[in-house]
């Protein structure tokens, strides 16, 4: 052995991990989140003149993040609603992605859901046609049916083409997003005539959800009760509906025959064929489920926003939901946490932009940093970083 080649410095090398303890894996992810937030603080102190790297300044910086979501009753409920909508789209994507059907069209599938619900509300709720004005509950239900159907159609088209002609689903679903967007622009001008000069719609007042929640214990004034206004009642109902969907999706993927078929098709279509699963049928059926849930998310958005807009109705959540689903490894229960983190970051970031009056693009950088750390941590969940000395490595090779 040549002594000159011997190194006294440890040489890092990577090894694939055996299946990691779930708590250890969670620990790594939490550590990554904390590290990411820490780096945000450092970057902020370097770039923003009102923030410096000391205890007091950093404390108010991080409090700002927290303040974005949790300091008032209204913010907490808005947080729950935003989380629920994003989660619902993520849940829609989970079965498709598990099947390795790269559905990049959740944005459009959700948007047509919003559009369908708003069109129904506009024409059957008394705004577009004064002769027909249904009551809140029946109108709301028809809106739901319309939204789910629209989402299904938008998802079924690429699925049919994939199953029949083996077209590329990533491009197909992606392009359908643009079709949806322009369909909305067109509909606002052509069909939703209460549109105004800036090309946006006035909010509708018909088709309200029933009032189920009237008060809750106040979080900003402990010991008192907070009287919930109707709009926030809607937020809570949205939260409840998505909670049910989460449980349903968990059971569907884990304990049903459908769920099993999805994972087999995802692992290998040949195996699926061999065991007698009709791949075409599974693809189409799963995409219908995916589209229906996107449509449901669209309905929830329509109920809350009471209007449709090309840019801000779905606002990129169809793509953010991919991240939410993927980080949680398509596990609906974990997705609650990943959606929660993403919404927390978004709200915190916009709060920082306001409080420090900085350009809204800088907080987007913060979101990027934290997500980068969390995604990066997946590497350490899958691989082990080992250190060894050159001599030792050779001994092993002997």
């Amino acid at each position: 052995m040549d002594a000159s080649k011997r190194s006294f410095l440890p040489i890092p090398h990577l090894a694939k991990r055996e299946k990691m303890n779930i708590f250890a894996a969670m620990g790594i992810r939490v550590l990554a989140f904390v590290l990411g937030m820490l780096v945000c603080g450092i970057v902020a102190s370097l770039l923003v003149k009102d923030i410096s790297f000391n205890w007091k300044s950093m404390k108010s910086f991080y409090y700002c993040f927290y303040e974005g979501s949790f300091t008032t009753n209204r913010k907490l409920l808005a947080y729950i609603k935003d989380l629920a909508v994003l989660l619902c789209i993520g849940l829609a994507l989970a079965p498709a992605f598990k099947m390795r059907f790269w559905n990049t069209g959740a944005e459009g599938q959700t948007l047509v859901g919003v559009l369908a619900a708003i069109l129904v509300n506009f024409y059957l709720g008394g705004s577009g046609n004064p002769d027909i004005a249904l009551g809140d509950l029946p109108l709301s239900l028809i809106m739901l049916v319309a939204a789910v159907l629209a989402g299904c159609i938008w998802a079924a088209l690429p699925a049919l083409f994939k199953a029949r002609f083996n077209t590329n689903e990533t491009l197909f679903t992606l392009m359908m997003n643009y079709v949806a967007k322009y369909l909305v622009s067109f509909s606002i001008v052509r069909f939703l005539t209460n549109a105004n000069s800036s090309g946006s719609m006035k909010s509708l007042s018909s088709g309200r959800l029933p009032v189920l929640f009237t008060q809750m214990p106040s979080i900003d004034k402990p010991g008192t009760t907070f009287k919930i206004p109707q709009s926030l009642n809607d937020y809570l109902i949205v939260g409840c509906i998505v909670l049910i969907v989460t449980v349903f999706m968990f059971v569907y993927l884990k304990y049903t025959k459908h769920g099993y078929e999805i994972s087999v098709v995802g692992e290998s279509t040949r195996t699926a064929k061999y065991v007698g699963i009709s791949v075409k049928k599974v693809i189409i059926r799963t995409m219908l489920v995916s589209g229906a849930l996107c449509g449901l998310a669209g309905w929830l958005i329509a109920q809350v926003d009471k209007s449709v807009s090309t840019e801000s109705s779905v606002h990129g959540q169809g793509f953010t939901a991919i991240l939410v689903a993927w980080l949680a490894r398509f596990n609906p229960i974990f997705m609650v946490a990943t959606a929660g983190i993403v919404v927390f970051l978004n709200k915190g970031a916009s709060r920082i932009a306001t409080d420090y009056s900085i350009s809204p693009s800088l907080p987007d950088v913060f979101i990027g940093i934290v997500l980068f750390f969390i995604i990066g941590s997946e590497f350490f969940v899958n691989y082990k970083l080992k250190f060894s000395f050159a001599g030792k490595a050779e001994e092993v090779s002997k």
Binding site: R74, S127, S197
Partner: protein, 399 residues
């Protein structure tokens, strides 16, 4: 005498305390919702006013930028109210219905919306609309344009027999129609044989589209161009072609030193000052408020001597004094005709509804004659002048 005045003062104090119930000198915290950020000239104009008012009155201000015209606006407005703002102001037309929803949940907070149309029909005590009589500024800019045309005519530099102006508009809405008509009437007041062509782009901000529209108008023989859209498209097209330009929303003299004549814009600082002062004193805020040239809400920039006709500044100052005094009406029905006839009666769509029903008589008469009563605070602050008068040719329409 002293006794009486003391009694009167005491009475006034009692009444004011009874009727409003506010403590003297409420601390004002102003919340502002902007559609974009400072990169948009429209929002920057608001932001500058907000910063100026914050400094002048020494009040705390919270600004939320990039708030879309959706439920996000409602949430932002509620958050501002929760954060202790007692005045919440939004700057974009589409924010209105969402501001209204927030206003219903926070009756003790004043919600003020620029350019909106719904306050006078909603009848909420804490929801208000505001606009400015920008047509007065346009009229003055039109006077400057007319003087320039006269100069060209005398020098024999007109492209055609009679002076022709071109106008690049965004949409065929009342706000734009009111703008180009007042501009045309201003020019006509000094240059009686002027006519005008209008080209719409269908967008508030489309640099290439506005430039192309301006170039088309120049090629069609226009001697002077003006515009109602937010980009640099039209002014730069004019500078390239050496055609005089009357601008909007701020001076373009920096990039167009040889062709920029004058520009008009709305200054929102007087309105914000008014609202904050009313709230501080516990006084109610007007449902519809219209700033005028007399309240300094409508301002015109310095006139660019290099491009304007000699003596423009003095002449415009004289017309401005007449407007301030109220002796001159911009939409004086004696100065224009519709299909060859004078306008004696007109129903405008003042109350917003889906079918755009014309509902209110807007031809008024005072000691200075009959006039179209645009943006009367007793009716509605946002413009409703949508008459197509003789002398103006629309080349297209965009809704």
């Amino acid at each position: 005498m002293k006794k009486i005045s003391a009694v009167v003062l005491a009475l006034v104090l009692c009444v004011s305390m009874l009727s409003f119930g506010f403590a003297e000198g409420t601390t004002v915290k102003l919340g502002v919702i902007l559609l974009h950020d400072e990169d948009s000239t429209y929002d920057l104009n608001f932001l500058n006013a907000v910063n100026q008012v914050a400094e002048d009155l020494g009040i705390e201000v919270v600004v939320r930028k990039n708030i879309p015209e959706s439920n996000a606006c409602y949430e932002a407005a509620c958050e501002l109210a929760d954060d202790g703002c007692n005045v919440v102001f939004a700057d974009s037309f589409g924010h209105e219905s969402f501001m209204l929803a927030a206003a219903k949940e926070y009756p003790e907070v004043q919600f003020c919306h620029a350019t909106g149309t719904m306050a006078h029909t909603e009848e909420l005590d804490n929801f208000h609309n505001a606009f400015a009589a920008i047509y007065e500024g346009r009229f003055l800019a039109g006077v400057a344009a007319g003087l320039k045309l006269n100069e060209l005519k005398e020098a024999g530099k007109l492209k055609g027999e009679t002076p022709l102006m071109g106008y690049v508009g965004a949409f065929t809405y009342a706000e734009v129609i009111s703008g180009y008509t007042s501009f045309y009437l201003g020019a006509k007041s000094v240059c009686p044989d002027v006519t005008m062509k209008v080209q719409f782009t269908g967008s508030w901000y489309d640099e290439m589209g506005e430039k192309a529209a301006a170039e088309a108008l120049i090629n069609a023989g226009c001697d002077l161009i003006s515009q109602h859209a937010d980009s640099w498209g039209a002014p730069t097209a004019c500078e390239d072609a050496g055609i005089p330009n009357v601008s909007y929303n701020g001076s373009t003299v920096g990039r167009c030193p040889n062709t920029f004549i004058v520009s008009s814009r709305i200054d929102w600082a007087p309105y914000l000052t008014y609202v904050c002062t009313q709230v501080a004193n516990g006084e109610p805020v007007d449902t519809d408020w219209v700033g005028t040239i007399a309240t300094a809400s409508v301002v015109i920039t310095d006139i660019n001597e290099q491009a304007a006709a000699p003596g423009t500044a003095e002449y415009v100052a004289g017309v401005k004094a007449q407007l301030e005094a109220g002796t001159l009406h911009v939409f004086d029905t004696a100065t224009f005709t519709v299909n060859g006839e004078a306008l004696t009666t007109y129903l405008a769509d003042v109350d917003t509804d889906a079918a755009f029903t014309a509902d209110t008589e807007v031809i008024f008469t005072d000691e200075n004659g009959s006039f179209f009563n645009e943006s009367d605070p007793a009716l509605r602050s946002a413009p409703y002048f949508d008459v197509q008068i003789d002398g103006i040719e629309l080349l297209n329409a965009k809704f």
